[in-house]
Symmetry: C2
DNA sequence: ATTTGTGGTTACCTACTAGTAACCAGAACA
DNA sequence: TGTTCTGGTTACTAGTAGGTAACCACAAAT
């Protein structure tokens, strides 16, 4: 998921993109916000992600110092994830992206299927 | 390359990530900056990208209103790409990412190969 | 007559991403 | 006794991203 060629570049921007330049990581960071969230909740909130991919992404985010993993020695197990200082510092950037999208996004023509069974939102991401 | 499930979400952030949430698009936007650049130059500057993928990404960026394509009716052909207002508005976000990375990035242990032949930069992205 | 330059497009193939389903521990509860 | 709960891991598989190489038009230069 990380792009090693990008991560080994001597351009700091290229390295940053190599680290967080995919769709899952910004989503996860955004969902985390400044909360502490358990694995199961994360899986329920992040749209369309499988447990396997979520595990992988969380592992990479931890390796890159964006979040902290806190595992309680209980049964059944409990693991909480929260952003590190580095991860928290990334949140404002996500806010700018939201604002940018709201301001410039071209209006979408909704598909007919979006209305076929009334207002279905089950497949949609919650709005934070 | 775009993620349709993300793009059809009713969360503006999710839609934004569905549109520009990969590694190529931020790179291309960053390389474009506020210049007007030809396809060949773009291909030479954006690190590691193939002509095929560059074509695809540029097409999507144009469809999403982030850039403008100006084709001159000459032979050999000449095509220039430049950011639209929407694309230009995205540049500050990339600046924040650069700053964020410089501030928080964990120091990498350089590989020996990085030094083997002196300061080689041919595989690296230019620093803007 | 042939080569060069430009901005693609296309077919083909490989390598990786990501989904699915099964499985695990071990305590609590019915 | 069996089921449930949690946070994974693993093996297998489908789908797709992306690389490579060949090809195109046609003018100008060699």
């Amino acid at each position: 998921m990380r792009d090693d060629r990008f991560c080994n570049s001597n351009c700091p921007f290229t390295r940053a993109i190599g680290t967080i330049g995919n769709k899952w990581k910004p989503m996860i960071i955004n969902v985390l916000g400044n909360r502490s969230i358990r694995f199961g909740q994360l899986h329920a909130i992040v749209p369309h992600i499988s447990r396997k991919v979520l595990t992988e992404q969380l592992k990479e985010l931890e390796e890159d110092g964006l979040l902290e993993r806190l595992a309680y020695k209980e049964l059944p197990p409990r693991v909480e994830y929260k952003l590190s200082e580095k991860g928290l510092a990334f949140l404002p950037i996500l806010e700018y992206i939201k604002e940018w999208n709201l301001k410039y996004e071209v209006a979408l023509i909704p598909k007919e299927t979006d209305y076929q069974y009334g207002s279905k939102t089950k497949d949609d991401a919650p709005v934070f």
